[in-house]
């Protein structure tokens, strides 16, 4: 079976698994304990923070460990919105965000916050101008993803952030960096980003670990109250092995970033050319997309059918984002891009990773051709 769903999750690096196993065995102490075992665990957590800070070009005290990007995103948005016990204000986000941002905004809306959901242009990319028009004096935070998890569209986060800090520096800039990290360069300090979410399992680290970068001096209302770990930002005993495993994955991903981007670009160009050549398939990738995500539709055919047919031929792909794929509705992201519901209901995402070889890509191309041949008689005449 060939796995082409790296945007959903990735197989952990063997080095990550080894270091986590060793740490769970040897250093199970609670980092908050005063005794030697606690100190050892604490030292690991602190060292991990130093290594991570160096990789991201930030300060160690600007990193907060979380349980993953969902928590990081919730913390960034709710923490910023509710600081000082506030229950109202204005938030700008986009209609193509991951559910952990989108649904979080929905919740904040119920409490009393006002949210502007900015639609992207038809190519899946949000325009700076639209964000500019939405800005208000009481805007607390602008939250945007770096790379869209369904279409791969690269959003102008640097542009937005630099503009925002010029016109209204007190409004916070949050970037959901989950799909971009390791594929595209990010310079947090230089881009003036205040909050940045990452998840370990998208870069071959362990599930259940993530981080939130919080620029020094940014006040957030903690979501979790308790023992006051992580400078009081996030209580709860640290996931020592997970944190170390995440750091290892971050380091490996950061080291391999440049060679990886080159290989993925070659693969995705080949795939895109082939998909365009297959009669019946419509490439839906935006013009500016991360090389690891390829998206296409097969109008007249349900996504799930295409997925299972490809699976039969040994290729694992996905329909929409994994978090929403069990819902019957067509993708919110595609609909927001102006793609018709019929087209959206036939969307397929292929996502690549560092382990793919030329043979894997050829295998996938053959499978795509066969699938279309096999399914053609069953197409509903919607075209």
């Amino acid at each position: 079976m060939k796995y082409f769903d790296y945007a959903a999750t990735t197989p952990p690096y063997p080095e990550v698994i080894r270091s986590m196993a060793e740490i769970m065995e040897k250093h199970f102490g609670n980092p908050s304990s005063l005794h030697q075992y606690g100190e050892e665990a604490d030292r690991l957590v602190r060292h991990a923070k130093e290594v991570t800070a160096q990789l991201l070009g930030v300060k160690p005290n600007e990193i907060i460990w979380t349980s993953g990007a969902t928590e990081s995103n919730n913390f960034a948005l709710k923490g910023a919105a509710m600081r000082g016990g506030r229950t109202q204000g204005h938030i700008i986000t986009t209609s193509i965000e991951h559910p952990s941002v989108y649904e979080c905004c929905r919740q904040l809306e119920q409490i009393g916050f006002e949210i502007s959901y900015i639609d992207p242009a038809p190519d899946g990319i949000v325009l700076l101008e639209d964000i500019q028009n939405a800005l208000r004096a009481d805007t607390i935070i602008v939250s945007m993803m770096h790379v869209n998890n369904e279409t791969g569209a690269v959003q102008p986060v640097q542009q937005v952030s630099e503009w925002l800090k010029k016109v209204q520096p007190r409004t916070l800039m949050h970037v959901d960096g989950v799909q971009g990290f390791g594929k595209l360069p990010v310079v947090l300090a230089k881009w003036n980003i205040d909050l940045y979410s990452l998840s370990a399992h998208k870069i071959r680290g362990p599930k259940g670990t993530g981080l939130l970068y919080i620029k020094q001096g940014t006040e957030l209302f903690p979501l979790l109250a308790g023992g006051g770990q992580e400078n009081g930002y996030r209580s709860g005993t640290e996931n020592v092995a997970g944190i170390v495993g995440m750091t290892k994955a971050l380091r490996l991903a950061a080291t391999e970033q440049y060679t990886l981007a080159e290989r993925l670009t070659a693969f995705s160009q080949l795939l895109k050319t082939e998909i365009q050549a297959i009669d019946g398939l419509v490439l839906t990738n935006p013009a500016i997309a991360s090389p690891h995500i390829i998206h296409f539709c097969y109008p007249g055919m349900k996504s799930e059918v295409i997925l299972h047919s490809l699976e039969q031929q040994g290729c694992i792909v996905s329909t929409q984002s994994a978090c929403s794929s069990r819902k019957a509705e067509p993708s919110r992201v595609l609909v927001a891009m102006g793609i018709t519901r019929e087209h959206a209901a036939s969307g397929i995402r292929i996502s690549l990773g560092d382990q793919h070889t030329n043979q894997d890509i050829e295998h996938l191309i053959t499978a795509l051709r066969q699938t279309v041949t096999q399914l053609r008689p069953l197409e509903r005449r919607t075209r």
């Binding site: 270091s19 060793e22 030292r43 690991l44 602190r46 060292h47 170390v244 290892k248």
Partner: protein, 407 residues
């Protein structure tokens, strides 16, 4: 700063020095080369009174960041170098101003310094010859020779012209270690690291001494001090840390029944130990973070009683500095966040309810004579652990070493 290809480092006070000047310059240039080691493409050249760093493609911002902290450098000038020819100078001037993204009315003037007298145009002429095309290129610029917002400077030398508009202030002071060596009594608090940094800035080589009283203080308190030393090492390249076992002496003092003299007794013992270590290491003074009136042991009369325990001069860089200002510096030099970590240190644990602010030296000496301190002090010095802490080095103190492979 994409047009910048080199930095001029101007040296401060040391240019006042006479005969020793070249030694000072050499020390700075060694320090500069040390901090630039992670930037192999950058190239350093020394000239009378200044240094040139060719960036070689390294990030200008990153270089400035590290060079700012080199003691003895007064300011850093990012320059564009061209041939000493009028056309080249004008082109470079226009490029350089372009980087400032002028979007509102801005005042400006040109100052030309002609070191190479054979250059065909005089300085006065040059101000005009360079100024006019720049004004044409940027309509929002307006000349103001008195208080311009941008001063475009041109320096014409034989073989090269330097064009710049910005002076970045650096840390200043005297070059690393150029004024001898002293021992810093380093607690985990806010003041002593600042005192250490200020001493280093005045050209002292600093070795740190920390008093550790396990089990009254934890390993973490010690690690915190290692981390603080590491920050100081970031400025000096490498710093030695002497960790003195203090438990025995401290315990002995608690048996005297002189609770309110506790701090005075402890401080005197610390000075004695530090003096011995200074003698071993050829240090010529002790440095403390004391600031007048801050706590009971820092009243004038306490300082007087404590200081008599040593014959070495005690340097107190912060003695007249207020707490707010000390905190400000601690934040700037990067020690503050470490200093406020809440671990017991050997002083906080034994703080008596009412420490005396006016200790009586006669009584103190009497109490000390009952205790036979000397052998205990000898033992403490003997058992002192010496750590050599290098800039950027990882934590090394761990009872189990950190396995870098895990990360």
């Amino acid at each position: 700063m994409q047009n910048i290809d080199r930095l001029i480092l101007r040296l401060g006070e040391i240019t006042l020095k006479g005969k020793n000047r070249s030694r000072f310059e050499k020390t700075i240039s060694e320090h500069v080369r040390a901090v630039l080691r992670p930037y192999p493409k950058a190239h350093v050249r020394r000239e009378y009174g200044r240094m040139y760093v060719e960036t070689g493609g390294e990030s200008v911002e990153a270089l400035i960041q590290v060079l700012k902290n080199v003691f003895g450098i007064m300011d850093i000038i990012p320059v564009k170098q061209t041939l000493p020819q009028l056309d080249d100078i004008i082109a470079a001037a226009i490029e350089l101003i372009g980087e400032q993204h002028i979007d509102q009315l801005t005042t400006f003037k040109v100052s030309v310094k002609r070191v190479w007298k054979e250059f065909p145009h005089s300085s006065q002429e040059m101000n005009h010859l360079v100024g006019s095309p720049v004004l044409r290129a940027y309509p929002l610029l307006k000349v103001d020779v008195r208080q311009p917002q941008i001063e475009l400077r041109v320096e014409i030398r034989d073989g090269a012209a330097y064009i710049y508009s910005e002076l970045i202030p650096a840390v200043g002071g005297f070059p690393r270690g150029s004024n001898g060596k002293a021992m810093l009594l380093l607690s985990g608090g806010i003041d002593s690291p600042v005192a250490g940094w200020q001493s280093m800035r005045r050209g002292l080589e600093v070795e740190c001494i920390h008093f550790h009283s396990y089990p009254f203080t934890s390993e973490r308190a010690k690690e915190k001090v290692v981390d603080l030393t590491r920050v100081l090492a970031g400025y000096a390249g490498v710093v030695k840390l002497h960790v003195v076992p203090f438990t025995e002496i401290q315990t002995a003092f608690t048996t005297t029944g002189q609770d309110n003299l506790m701090i005075t007794l402890m401080r005197r013992a610390m000075l004695r130990i530090a003096t011995k270590i200074a003698e071993q290491q050829k240090g010529l003074a002790l440095i403390t973070g004391e600031s007048l009136g801050q706590v009971a042991s820092q009243t004038l009369s306490s300082m007087n009683a404590i200081e008599r325990a040593t014959e070495l001069p005690i340097l107190r860089p912060l003695v007249m500095t207020g707490k707010d200002e000390i905190i400000q510096i601690a934040k700037e030099i990067g020690t503050y966040d470490l200093s406020i970590l809440p671990y017991e240190d050997c002083c906080t644990l034994f703080i008596p309810k009412s420490p005396t602010t006016n200790p009586n030296l006669r009584i103190i000496e009497k109490v000390e004579s009952f205790l036979e301190l000397e052998p205990m002090i000898e033992r403490a010095v003997e058992q002192t652990e010496v750590l050599t802490i290098e800039a950027g080095s990882p934590l090394q103190l761990a009872s189990t070493a950190i396995n870098e492979d895990w990360f």
